[in-house]
Structure formats: C-alpha cells, structure tokens
Amino acid sequence: MLKDITFGQYYESRSLIHRTDPRLKMVLLIALIVFIFLAKNTFSMALAVLFVLSVMAVSKVPVKLYLKNMKAILPVLIFTGIINLFYGEGETLISFWKLEITTGGIYRAVFMMVRITLLIFLSSALTYTTTPNDLTDAIESLLSPLRFVGLKSAVHTLAMMMTIALRFIPTLIEEAEKIMNAQKARGADLENGSLRERVKALIPILIPLLISSVRRAYELAEAMECRCYNGGEGRTRMKQMHIRPRDFAVLAVCAAVCGGIITLNILF
C-alpha cells in the first residue's frame, strides 16, 4: 500500500521540454495558466488546446500518464461541468423545478471543463519533465529576489527543507513498512475493523516512526555540521542554471501563443 505513494512524477526522457530551464518552465506555466483563463471564445480556446496538445507531444511523456493525473481531478471536473450547465443563456433544452439547461449552459460547461483539463495537462507537463530537485532549485532561484527585503536565509531554509524532505521520503516509507511488518508480526490488524479501529491501529506505527525520525534528524544535523554547513551563509552551488538559446526559443513560442489568444479574443 505504501509502495504506491510516489512523490514527484518525473518521467525520464531528453525532450526539449525536459531540457528547458526549470525556472523558465515555472514562470511560463504560471503565465500560460493566466492566458488560458483569459481565452474567452472558441477560437482562442482552440489555440490553447492546440498548444497544450503539442506541448504534451513534444514532452515525449506517454499520454496515459497525463490521463492518470486527470483521474484524480475527475470529480471536480464533473462537478464544475454540472454547475456550469445551469448558468447559461439561450434556448432552453430541458427544464425541471427551478433549473433549466440551455444551449449556452452546455457551451459554458464544456468550455470550463476544457479549461480545467488544459490546466491539469500543462501542470503535469512541468512535473513530468522536471526532477523534484530541479523544481526546488528553481523555487530557490525564483524567490532569491526576496533577499533584498531581508529574507535571504528564509529562502535558503525553505529550499534546504524541501531538499531534505525529498531525500527522506523514500527512507521514511521504507521505515514505515518495516514497522508495519513488525507490528503485524506481533498480531496487529491494520486492514480490518471500523474506521475508528483502523485509525487506532495506526498509532503503534506512527509513534515509532516519529521517534526514529527525530533521531534521524539529530544525526543528520551532526553530519551536516561536519560538512561545514552553517545555514547557507557564503554557500555556492555546483550546478549553475544557465539560460540557453533554446530557452529563448521556448519563451518566444509561448509568447506567440499568449499573443495569439489575446488577438483571437479581440477579433472574434
């Protein structure tokens, strides 16, 4: 059961999207989300759909992985669709009680669902093509202007916490499994019983896990101290992120798409 937990969904490949600077990818994701929300007619939305589909194709990540991410959001998607059905104007198709479904409502519902789907696909494209470490470094780098308002150590601390968390997730999962097996060997029943009983059965797993995590943290702190760590003061990085010509090309394409969405909005 714990083996199913995967953190970070990186899919190994060497596509153009994989090799794009992670900072640029993050900024572009945010910008594109805004522009997808700005798309307000069929033509501009069609352009957005076309763009997102081509990003997915270029990323070389299997389509079924993208669809897997959709599954989790499906209830939200359907809910949004149903709500929007009743908010349109135009010819009434079905009406019952005080509600009526109109042609405009159907258009609106489809439009919203497409919009959300695009957002999910686009964010998945980022997480599938960028390692968690690169994401962490990108966040640290993008937040680094905060040092001018005296938050330098806060930015570094946040990034270090994320790095360590990412590093220890597999270790702690392994440990949790060991403890669960040990408790099962002692007759603990983790799978049966009411919700209340199952939650109660988790206590003998969580407490040893917590204690051992604290011990790990203590040892890790000593090891970090031995490696001359003193809170990021004067620290340099081995891997420097560089903006390369292909990043400008990616930026240009995205800018063109954003421009296209606005133009189509105005024209039609």
Binding site: T171, R216, R227, C228, Y229, R235, R237, K239
Partner: protein
C-alpha cells in the same frame, strides 16, 4: 612525531538528570599525520564520544584537543577544524542530504563557498577515489549499504580533509559492504596520504592498521601495533570481543590501590605486574 591531532588530558562528561557521567576520562592521544589508526572498544567505552571530540563536534569538559595546532574550543576556527578532520558516521542514510549522488557529494564543498568548477573537480575526484563515479547520477536510496557509505565518505573527501575519522562506519553493513569500506579506507590512506582514524568493535578491521588503540571505560587501555594487541586479545575473543581480561584485572587492581601498570596486556606481563605489585606491598 608530526601529529595532526593532539588530545591532551581530555575529560568529557554527560549530565543525565542529576548524575554526571564521564564518558572520556583524562585521555591523552597523539595521531600521527598519514597514519592508519584503529580505535577498538565495546559499547559505552567512550570511543564515539572521543571520535566526536576529534573534529570539535563535542567540546571537552576539560583538557584540549588540537587539530594541526588549532584548539577545537576556539569558535572562530570551528569550520577550519571540520575542514581538516572529516567525520563519517554509522548510518549512511542519516548522512546523505541530497537525492542525487553527485549533488550530495557537492554539499560539503558548496558550504565552503568554492567556485562551481572547483566543486565539480572535487566531486569527480572524490567519487573516483571511492570507486563510485559511475553512480554519480543515481539516487542514493537505490544503492546498497556499502555503496551509500562510500558516498558518505566521498562527501567528506570532497572537502579535501587531511584526516578522516570514521565512527563505526561498518556497523550497519553486510560483510561485503564492510570489506568495501575497509579496502577503500586503506586505499585513501596509502594513495592520498589521508590520515585515517577508524573506530570499530570488529577486531578483524584492525588487522592492517599501523596502530591499534583499545578503549575501555573512557580510557585508553592499549595502544600498539596490531600484532601485539592481537596476541593479547585473540585468546579473549571467546569472551565476546570484550576488553582483555588482563587489562580488566590490572585495571581493577589499580582501582583498589595496587600500583600496577595497566598497559601490560599479555598474561605474562600482567602476572609479572601483579607479582611486582604484591612484592611492593610487603
């Protein structure tokens, strides 16, 4: 003797609630530059406490530890000391910081504020020195215990220390992993001239050392070449790799007011010591 580390009359006390417990008692020790020293001792002998004092992680309650002439009590030179004396611990999982091997090895030199190109060179050198270069882009949690521990050693080596202190680095490893670590340490010692201080409770790991120090109850009870130590301890292996009985006997006699030399480890020497002590009593 050209010492890289001098331990001078060091005592280290833990406070546990009301009672004060001395883990290291008035201990003095010189570690020669370029040597391979093994410190043997059972649990609670104070060897780990001593290890942590060698790079200033623990500060002695009294006495001084000098690393290349620098007192570890000096706060302004703390980083300098840790840079000279690197430390590797028992559990490799709790020493690895990053999720990619080469990024983890880079952690130390990054903290030293070195140039990216220089960090790259050191990371590559360190990984080659522990024979893990091919794994530089792997994820540590997919590696074996021995491999993880070699990554931890590389992480310290990348700071280019003069001395490596290892606190039971093989305790959590399988026999294959243990052999990997010990041969790696001997290679670093002979090829790179790194001073190695290996703390362990496995006797066989001391075989090829230049010097073996046996600790018990916060004190050094033996300090010699492995051959001499082994001739005493081997017979006592059946007792469970514990402190040699002779040492225990002499130590107890001394505690009870007899003037015996606790450094006599062989039975014969011990017997002679006891006779001498008894005669002087008369």
């Amino acid at each position: 003797m050209d010492s890289i580390i001098s331990v001078r009359n060091v005592t280290y006390e833990y406070k546990e609630e009301e009672t004060v417990y001395a883990a290291v008692k008035d201990l003095s020790l010189e570690i020669e530059r370029g040597s391979f020293t093994v410190i043997l001792g059972h649990n609670g002998s104070g060897k780990s406490t001593l290890a942590k004092m060698l790079n200033g992680l623990n500060k002695p309650t009294s006495g001084d530890v000098l690393v290349d002439g620098i007192n570890t009590k000096e706060e302004s030179t703390e980083v300098e000391v840790k840079r000279k004396v690197g430390m590797v611990f028992q559990n490799p999982d709790n020493q690895i910081i990053a999720s990619i091997v080469e990024e983890d090895v880079a952690f130390g030199p990054e903290n030293l504020g070195l140039d990216p190109a220089e960090i790259r060179r050191r990371v590559d050198d360190a990984l080659k020195a522990v024979d893990m270069y091919d794994f530089r882009e792997s994820t540590p949690h997919r590696l074996s215990g021995g491999q993880k521990q070699r990554i931890a050693i590389a992480g310290i080596m990348a700071m280019e220390p003069e001395c490596l202190v290892l606190d039971e680095p093989t305790a959590m490893l399988d026999p294959k992993g243990r052999a990997e670590i010990i041969s790696t340490l001997h290679r670093l010692n002979s090829e790179k001239g790194i001073t190695v201080v290996l703390i362990t409770h496995y006797m066989e790991e001391a075989e090829n050392a230049d010097r073996v120090i046996v600790m018990n109850d916060g004190k050094i009870i033996a300090d010699d070449v492995p051959k001499v130590i082994f001739s005493d301890v081997k017979t006592l292996k059946s007792v469970g790799l514990d402190v040699p009985q002779t040492a225990e006997l002499l130590y107890r006699l001394k505690e009870n007011g007899f003037s015996v030399d606790t450094h006599a480890l062989s039975v014969k020497e011990a017997a002679a010591e006891i006779i001498k002590a008894l005669r002087s009593e008369e």
